[in-house]
Every structure is written in C-alpha cells, then in structure tokens.
C-alpha cells in the first residue's frame, strides 16, 4: 500500500533511489526476486499464517448455513473481511489506516471474489433456502511491504485448505454431519488467483521491483497490482500513484506476474499437500509451534545477507573434510616419489635435497593456496580452516560443527564461533588481499607433523609470525 506516513520518508527516498541507480535493493534481492514465502497451517481446517519475508498475515476460513440472495438462489456466499490495526503498522495515522484498509479489502475482493475462483454453486444445499456462507477473515500481523500479495496468498491457502462439514439431504431433512462422523469436504476451487505487486520507480529509466518492501513502496512513484492465476489469466489490475507508464511496461509486468503466479500457486499447493500428509500421520501441528524465538529476534532474520543455511554449512564442512583427507593421501605419497614435485597450477613446490629427511624445504608463496585444499574465496577458507584442524580431532569436530549448526541460522553465533579462535586471525592475513609475497621455510619435523596430524598449517603460521 502506498502510505506516505513514515517520518523518514525524505531520507529513505533519496537513499532507495541512489541504491537503485546502481541496481541494488536494500535487502540485496534482484529486481524480480521474491522474499521467502512461508505457509504454516494450524490445527483447524482453513487456518494459516503466511509470511512473506517479515510481512505476516493470518487467515481463517469459517462457514455457516444461510439463506441465499434472492437474485442468486442457487449460489453459496463468500465473504471476505480484512483487519489491520496499529499493532501491525505503528506510526500511522488512523485516517491513512482506514484508507489502506478499504483499499486492501477492495483489491482482495477483486482478486479472489470477483474472479470466481470458489465454486459457489457447489455450496448450495437447498436452492432458495439454505446455502453455505464461507467467510474468510484476514488479520494483518505485521506490515513490511507487499501486503496485498501476502494477504491474497493467505486467503487462497486458507481456502484451499478449508473443509466444510458434509451434508446429506433425505427428502426434506437436511443433515449436517459432525466432522467426527463423516470426513469434511474441501471447497472446490476453479483456479488459484494471487495478487502480485510491483513498485515502479521513474527516473532516467523506469525500474520495476517485484515484492516491494515497505520502504520501497513508500519511495516509489507508483504501484501496480496484478491479479493473476496459474493459467496466465488476468483476474484484476490496479495502478496506484502518479507515474506515467507506457503500456509496454504494464505488458511486461503482466508477463512476469504470470510466471510469478505459477511459482506462488505451486508453493501453496505444496503446502496444502504437505499438511495433508502430516494429518494422515496424525501429526497435527498448532500455529504456536511455529513461533520460534530465533525467528522473531531482529538479528536472526534473513535481512542479514551473512546468514548461511544449516545445510550449506553442513555440506561445506563435509566437503572440506573429504578434501583434507584426499590431500593428505597425495601428500604422503609425494614424500616417497621424486625430488621435485610440482602440484597443479604451480601452487606449491616440494624440493627434496641429498639428505634423507634433513633438508626438505617447503616453499610457499603467501598469497597462494594450501596444497591440501583448493577453496578460492576467503570466507570458505575460514570455514575450511576450522574444519581441517577439526577433521583430525574427529569427534570434537563434529561437536563443534554441531554447535555452530545448532544455532539455527543464527549467523551471529556462527561468526562468533569462528572469529574467537586465534587461528582465524592468522587466516585473515592469509587472504588474497595481500600482494606481498613471502617464502616460508618449514623444518622437517613440521612436515612430519603434516603427515601425522595435518596440523602443519597451524605451525606454518607460527613460523611466519
């Protein structure tokens, strides 16, 4: 939603424009990239919390039996209700909030109700007398941009998940079965429309951002919202703001939106399927279980680009351990071979002179990589160093890795773990920044140490110091 209410608008605007001029967004996404979508279902049918980055929306579908409208006697009813409070959007005036609310509920109705995605005729029990009234309640929990998009995903995932009690008609008697007696039936949906929003910035050239954050929405000139289903059909369009946009911009937006809609709808369907699987295993989770402290604290959220995923860390560590072991083997075999061994890419030379062991010299250029690992960037070096020395410690390494990993995407803890070690400070000196070349001579016993323990690296650094 376009709200010009923030105190910092003036400052944010210039900064966002500046960043966009060098093709950067505040959270490091590319222009077409969506934030992380998470759909969590609750215990009841049709209750879910959807979060798109830090925008959070809860939706809940309920139903009751009502008399149909006289104009449409054989159609059920669909009612949508949106609630936003100042809890979700602090520092906003009441009047702006009301305007936002009207806008949001109108857009959602346009996108979901008026696109006839719910089969209303299937909701009829007895024509002109009794039909199901399906009510979708949407509560905005936190507003961090792209509220329409998030709300529409929430409404749709709730509708797709919802099941109404089964009904049997016996002559004049209508029996509504208790969910315990008879399996409730899902709603039938014709198609899945989602609202996709774009922030449009006018400058020397037009920049279009999908899934804008709140700051981006505020500093944009216009916002384009497209309702789109997975069959590339347009179910609604709304253009807010003051930008003068050529038709081809809108066309290209709608093309992008069609693809985006497909991925979003796939995500929704996947979430519904997964929940069904969980329920089949009698493993029904409540929404309370989805609230985790490490996700709520500001420092642990994905806004930080530093965060590594658990799996990534695990993979990287295991890879490195393998490499270390492989390298160790080659190194030990090397000792028995020729006098001069040149490894690939001239990385290292091992020269053996007349004496059996006494005068081995181990020359190494400072900016070059180590023989037993070939990882290029400085960050992974840090990790690898950790892993390498740990590899020899076997169990303790696992423990330490576990420690790092158990912090659960808490990147701060990760950094803390590594940097608090002395050897890391050594590693930073080793990184490719330095053009200075240095030749280090190692004593033979150090080489033995490499063979035996793989700790040579640490010692080598000591030598340097």
């Amino acid at each position: 939603m376009l709200s010009k209410d923030s105190l910092f608008t003036k400052y944010e605007k210039t900064f966002v424009h500046q960043a966009l001029s060098i093709e950067k967004r505040l959270d490091g996404r590319s222009t077409d990239e969506y934030r992380k979508l998470d759909i969590a279902y609750g215990k009841d049918w049709g209750s879910c919390v959807v979060s798109l980055g830090e925008t959070k929306v809860m939706a809940k579908v309920t139903c009751d039996v009502q008399q149909p409208k006289a104009t449409r006697p054989s159609e059920g009813l669909l009612f949508m209700n949106v609630e936003i409070s100042q809890m979700a959007i602090p520092n906003i005036e009441q009047s702006t909030l009301t305007e936002m609310h009207t806008n949001l509920s109108r857009l959602l109705e346009k996108c979901i109700k008026e696109s006839h995605c719910v089969d209303l005729e299937a909701l009829c029990i007895v024509a002109e007398e009794k039909v199901w009234n399906v009510r979708v309640d949407i509560v905005v929990l936190n507003h961090e941009g792209n509220l329409v998009g998030c709300c529409s995903i929430a409404a749709l995932s709730a509708l797709a998940h919802f099941r109404r009690p089964d009904v049997t008609i016996d002559g004049e008697n209508v029996v509504i079965h208790d969910p315990a007696d008879r399996e409730p039936v899902p709603l039938s949906l014709h198609h899945y429309p989602v609202a996709i929003s774009y922030a449009i910035f006018e400058g020397s050239e037009i920049v279009i951002l999908s899934d804008p954050t709140e700051i981006e929405e505020r500093s944009s000139q216009a916002e384009l919202i497209l309702g789109m289903n997975s069959y590339r059909e347009l179910c609604g369009m709304h253009l807010m703001g003051s930008a003068l946009i050529a038709t081809d911009v809108i066309l290209s937006c709608s093309r992008k939106a069609a693809e985006q809609a497909l991925t979003l709808v796939t995500a929704i369907k996947k979430a519904v399927d997964e929940d069904k699987k969980q329920r089949d295993e009698k493993n029904v989770s409540c929404l309370v279980q989805r609230i985790r402290l490490d996700q709520e604290l500001p420092g642990s959220q994905s806004r930080s680009m530093l965060s590594l995923k658990r799996e990534e860390v695990k993979e990287r560590v295991s890879e490195i351990i393998k490499e270390v072991q492989a390298a160790k083997k080659t190194h030990s075999s090397k000792d028995d071979d020729d006098d001069v061994v040149i490894l690939s890419d001239d990385e290292i030379e091992v020269v053996r002179k007349s004496g059996p062991r006494s005068a081995e010299s181990f020359s190494k250029k400072k900016h070059e990589q180590n023989p037993w690992k070939s990882i290029s960037n400085a960050d992974s070096k840090k990790d690898s160093d950790d892993a390498k020395s740990d590899a020899t410690k076997n169990e303790s390494s696992e423990k330490m890795v576990e420690d790092v990993i158990s912090s659960d995407e808490d990147d701060v803890a990760l950094v803390r773990e590594f940097t608090s070690e002395d050897r890391i400070i050594g590693m930073i000196e080793l990184s490719g920044d330095s053009e200075e070349e240095e030749i280090v001579t190692m004593r033979s016993k150090d080489l033995e140490a490499i063979g035996d323990e793989g700790k040579g690296k640490v010692k080598q650094e000591e030598d340097k110091v």
Partner: protein
C-alpha cells in the same frame, strides 16, 4: 516477590533489602525501572536488575524512548508552530525546539529547517508533566556536531539498548571506521543516521543490527571483522 541483583524481574517485584545492607542507607541511587514506595524499592518494568556500585537499575530491551535531559537524540521536524518546531523524537509526546536555539539564530535570521528534516539534537529538559525541550547548541551556544542531518543519509531505527552499546566505552564504531569511511549519528532514542557510499551503508546497517545479540566483550573483539565480512558479500 523478592528479587536480587541479576535476577529477571517483573513490575511489582520488591528488591530485597539484603541488596542494600552493605551500603549506607542514604547513598543508593535508583535508576530507570525502580521506584521507592513506602520505604521499599519496587520494580516498575520488566528486565534484569543490575547494580554498579551505588546505582541500581533495570536493564531491558526497550524500543520506546523516554526522554532524559542531556541525552543526544535524532528528531524529525513534524510541524512549525509559532516560535517553535515540533519535533518527533519517538517519545510519547512531540518535543519542542525553539527557532532561537540554533547557533547564530536571531529573531530575524531563522534557521532554514523544513518539515521532514532530521536534526541531531540534545534534550534540554525532560520532565514527566511537560513536553521535552530540545536544543541544537551546547552550553556555549556553539552548534558543535548538533543540527541538520544531510538528506543524502539514511535513517533507520533499532532498539535503545543497541544505541547504548554503540556508544559504549569500547567505541565499536571507531573500530569499524578503520576500514571504511562513513558518517554516522546515533541518537539514544533508537534512531541511527548514516551517510556513506551506497555500497557501505547496507553492510554497515547489517553489522549494527547484528551487534544487537552480542555482549559488549564480543562486540569489542569482533565488530570490525563482522563489518569487513559484511562488506565483502
């Protein structure tokens, strides 16, 4: 419930008198979150009870600023009314800032400040029953580092504890500035203004927000590392 120093406390808890027993009765100082009621010390907000020599206070993750005199804050001008600017400093009330409390300002020569501008100001008076008053000069009527903040900068908010950490004796910001050039104003009301190259601003914000969960000691050791690492990404 009776509580002691370093306990997690809730409003209404009574600080047990054993904490004060080794002090002279007249010499204890009650900081924020504590109040005296019928001779007993009660906790008035949730947090952790802390003590430093004679001073007792409750430390908590606050986001709402309560003005206190002599603190430096970042305010946004929201209104001009008569001889005063109304400035939002994130407190329950708007603060007032006189046209005349700028360096070199006279009745005829008013400072050129518009609505929406950010100012680095000092809280002159903060009383419970009055609106806080701000100034943009020090006691010698010099502006020093106070005043208008350039609109090229970026403002964001964080918790109040974080701003205190940034301004602590360790001077983490100075350590970060060893590698990259940036201009920063940290308001104790949880607002931070940064002016730097666009490439530096984002890693800087990330670094600052990451410091939130680190202890002072860890910040001291790691902040420049985290910052340089953030810059590389």
């Amino acid at each position: 419930m009776e509580v002691n120093v370093n306990d997690v406390v809730l409003p209404g808890d009574r600080v047990s008198s054993s904490n004060f027993s080794n002090l002279h009765k007249s010499s204890k100082i009650l900081g924020p979150g504590l109040r005296l009621f019928e001779g007993q010390v009660y906790v008035s907000k949730g947090g952790v009870l802390k003590q430093n020599k004679l001073i007792f206070w409750v430390e908590s993750q606050k986001k709402r600023y309560v003005p206190a005199s002599d603190e430096f804050v970042i305010g946004i001008v929201t209104q001009k009314s008569g001889d005063y600017y109304k400035v939002d400093i994130g407190a329950s009330e708007l603060a007032s800032l006189s046209y005349l409390s700028f360096e070199g300002a006279t009745k005829k020569l008013r400072p050129d400040i518009k609505v929406g501008d950010a100012l680095y100001t000092k809280v002159l008076t903060a009383k419970r029953d009055m609106e806080p008053e701000l100034v943009c000069v020090d006691s010698h009527w010099k502006k020093g580092r106070l005043g208008f903040l350039n609109t090229n900068g970026f403002i964001f908010t964080c918790s109040l504890t974080l701003t205190q950490k940034l301004l602590s004796k360790n001077r983490p910001l100075e350590k970060m500035a060893e590698n990259r050039k940036f201009e920063i104003a940290v308001g104790l009301n949880g607002r931070i203004w940064i002016n730097a190259d666009t490439e530096v601003v984002k890693p800087l914000i990330n670094t600052i927000l990451e410091l939130e969960l680190l202890s002072e000691e860890e910040i001291n050791k790691n902040c420049s590392n985290i910052f340089s690492k953030n810059c590389k990404i």
